[in-house]
Amino acid sequence: MAGMCYGVNIAETEATTPVEPSSEAARRRRMEIHQFRFVPTDVAVAPSLQENGRKRHKVEKVVESKRQKLETSVTISLSPALVVSDEKKLAEIEKESETEVVDLSESGPQSVNIEPEVAFDFPKFGMTSVCGRRRDMEDAVAIHPSFCKENSESSSSLHFFGVYDGHGCSHVAMKCKDRMHEIVKNEVEKGEAPWKETMIQSFSLMDKEVVDYSSGSSASGSDCRCELQTPQCDAVGSTAVVAVVTPEKIIVSNCGDSRAVLCRNGVAIPLSVDHKPDRPDELNRIQEAGGRVIYWDGARVLGVLAMSRAIGDNYLKPYVISEPEVTITERTDEDECLILASDGLWDVVSNETACGVARMCLQSRRPPSPTCSPGSDITVTGAGESSDQACLDASILLTKLALARRSSDNVSVVVVDLRKDL
């Protein structure tokens, strides 16, 4: 749908808004463009598998209205945001955008200088999230490419990836999915704070929202199963592993036992350390706060929760905290991919195996899963809609592996391709 409008709108851009080099207006326009790009990719990716059909319908409407609003400012930069599901399409799109870039260069050099950079900035990712062997789905995944800018001077955009594994009920995980990226965006746009503080503040705000939500009357109207049991709502929480990917860095913030692993030159590097109650430093922290870790089907805080940090879980505060551990990793040319997953994967698949599988998927770059039957030979559907085929393939493969190894939990896997020159 993004592709539909740019041809028309370029003409309008030329006619109504001549490009002023390096002016405030030009920059604002570029910002608007990104806002536009952000809508179709962002919303099309985020819905959970089951709701996809309905949500997609909504997306079209949103885009429609946004398009009217932004009509004069939409330019060629839309094309990188298009759904790219295989290499052939990608080649076509690139060809198209090249021709258009030539057109634009005649009307104003500024756009041309900036947009190609953004085009290469578009991340490749794939996501799979399934109920698996559990009867409740409590995992949630949020992916928001280009969710905000690093600062007002730079044009490079940041990408957001989050995996949330709820416990007690799914509503805290769902809240995180809906809100965390917005909170982080706000904090980033506030400006000066270093990443670590930004992320700690974001998690704290997220936690506060969840606690307010649970204690307030707003809990009714949700369709979670703890709807009418307000006191119980305190006993609901979620893990959160969030990766913000910038052109130079990967910022991973983690709370709980979901995990982010970087695959660098074939080596698996964990970018987060699970918060288990029996981790020596966590055990100390809990005991110093006056809490106890009781071994009952594994180490549990007060004998209840099998992780030492989480969003929500108000009743276990201050022993269970929502403060994330933040790692900041400089990206290198040897980086291959980033894997974010819930414990449904990590319980049965080691970091090394996961990296090995994901890496082979990305390297082979072969055509995707077989087109099995005439009825089901759509290569990409559902949440994979605007994702990269090799990454989607990798995420599915890892999910299948987890299920094959009898993972008894929900399984959610995000694979982000980090290779720079492809």
Binding site: L49, T128, P368, S369, T371, I396, K400, L401, A404, R405
Partner: protein, 270 residues
């Protein structure tokens, strides 16, 4: 009230309905296995053949459900607590049959097992198009089907729970509490109440059968390709027949149903 003779024939009809079904399962299984064998040597004509077999399996399932429904209308409790199953089978019943979601668990188990052994080949780009190679689209559809089925399953479980609780409420509890003398005597009021209750149970049973049927159909006719579907049906029938056979062996060990265990010797697949 039905006569004693009628009762005996009811029970016989119920038993033979199940025995026939198990026999049919076995025949269908052998046919499916043969077809799989044939299709591995000649892939050109097999898809149509496989599709026909899938339809046949589904039809047999539907016929069984229809016959059962017919018999259950006059005696639904017999179907909720069947005397013709082994205790192993009975212990796993959900509203007189398997849980619809177990189809998906079975699929995950079979495809997972196949997947792990084929993973090295898969990463080298080799394809066999079987259950280990569910496409992203299929994978999504299965997850969607699973979530929907769990939701519907839970709803039916809740309905059954309410009906079971109703027994401890008006009117049964009050009638029972006021009984003096002969405990076994059924008055008209009790008769009516039990009949009304049975009608509600019958509705739940029919809905459960529909859900089983719909889930299976969606899986083997819409989501899986014919080859995958036949593999899946083979696995399902084998599981069903095995549990029946294991149940007989176990019952025999505990001294139950010695005569029936001898009469129904366990089938072999050769």
């Amino acid at each position: 009230m039905t006569s004693l003779n009628n009762n005996v024939s009811d029970q016989e009809a119920q038993h033979s309905c199940y025995q026939e079904w198990m026999k049919l399962q076995q025949q269908d299984l052998l046919e499916l296995i043969h077809a799989l064998h044939d299709s591995s040597s000649d892939s050109s004509t097999s898809d149509l053949k496989l599709k026909q077999l899938i339809e046949k399996s589904i039809k047999h399932f539907q016929d069984y459900a229809d016959t059962r429904r017919h018999l259950a209308r006059s005696d639904v409790t017999a179907y909720l607590a069947p005397t013709w199953c082994t205790s192993l089978e009975s212990s796993m019943l959900w509203i007189s049959g398997c849980r619809p979601c177990s189809f998906i668990r079975l699929l995950y188990a079979i495809s997972g097992k196949e997947f792990e052994s084929h993973l090295p080949n898969y990463l080298q780009g080799k394809r066999c198009g079987n259950l280990s190679e569910l496409s992203p689209a299929q994978f999504n559809s299965i997850d969607e089907l699973q979530r929907r089925t769990i939701r519907l399953e839970n709803r039916l479980s809740d309905k059954l729970a309410s009906l079971q609780e109703d027994i401890a409420d008006q009117p049964f509890a009050i009638i029972a509490n006021e009984v003096a003398g002969n405990l076994g005597g059924i008055c008209r009021e009790t008769e009516n109440a039990l009949d009304t209750h049975a009608k509600c149970l019958m509705n739940v049973l029919e809905e459960a059968d529909n859900l089983r049927m719909e889930t299976l159909k969606e899986l083997v006719m819409n989501i899986l390709n014919p080859l995958q579907a036949v593999n899946f049906l083979v696995a399902g029938k084998k599981l069903h027949l095995c549990i029946n056979a294991w149940g007989k062996t176990r019952d025999h060990l505990h001294g139950r149903n010695r005569e029936t265990a001898e009469r129904n010797t366990c089938p072999t697949l050769s």
